[in-house]
Symmetry: C2
Subunit: 177 residues, 2 copies
Amino acid sequence: MPTGHVMMAMTLDGFVARKDHTIDWLMKQETQGEDYGFEEFMSGIDVIVMGSGSFRTVLGFNEWAYNKPVIVLSRSLNDSDVPEHLKDKVKLSRLDPDTLMSELSRQGINRVYVDGAAVVQTFLRAGYIEDMKVTLIPILIGSGIRLFGDLDKDMDLRLDGVREFKSGLVDLRYRVI
Amino acid sequence: MPTGHVMMAMTLDGFVARKDHTIDWLMKQETQGEDYGFEEFMSGIDVIVMGSGSFRTVLGFNEWAYNKPVIVLSRSLNDSDVPEHLKDKVKLSRLDPDTLMSELSRQGINRVYVDGAAVVQTFLRAGYIEDMKVTLIPILIGSGIRLFGDLDKDMDLRLDGVREFKSGLVDLRYRVI
């Protein structure tokens, strides 16, 4: 089976976005010149799986951020929601995690970037996440969309590394054990 | 006015205890021989302020952990809830943060250890927390009592330092700015 890998930014109080999906609190961080290893992370990835919320967010960016195929898990979106210039880069899917991972396995996919809180939570619960890179942002926003959600049982993690940036951001790398 | 200081352990998903206040997930961490600086932190503290939930938890420990006066903020507890051997160490109070801090100021108190999620949240919102030492535990427990709560507005933090332990725990020190 392919393995799932997470790279997300989270406020100290656990949020990846405000309730309205905005990330102004992230954009205002003074991270100029700091390398969070996104390129390196992406180089080891075969395909990106995200939810419709993340898809709408990245659609709002000036540039398409991904040089790997993107699968958007959504029951509500249909092909007309994918802009013409992204039709060869983005595929919609309604598969559940098990069926999707089996299908990706058949396609020879090894490493999946699992993006967006809802999808991360689903894949964590299904046991498909191997490691997570959580970048902790030095701010409390009080409410919003939480990165982590309910679990059937505790999930122990092994710390693989910590990196502190001048901006005050902290990169935490964990392996799910 | 005195300043408030926080030292708490939190799961990566933001909890300080399960819903039933248990911290078995914390106790099972293999932290033997690791110094989290509790003694050093306490040496700079004049008084500890905690809520009734934290008070009940520390009452359950074998030994009384504090060598400084403790004020328990509670509207429900009364003097008979304080064990005889702690009557000279623990004082109950029903004061709100503003009145309590003014009162402590009159007593010449400079530094207050603010303990317990509910009290930390109240004192954060009231603007009395100067810095926080959050020890991040490498586990997801899915639900429980969150360290941080709703805020009227964002609260920017400055990272003062990070320390990684062999056990996988990570000490994060932030200043409220």
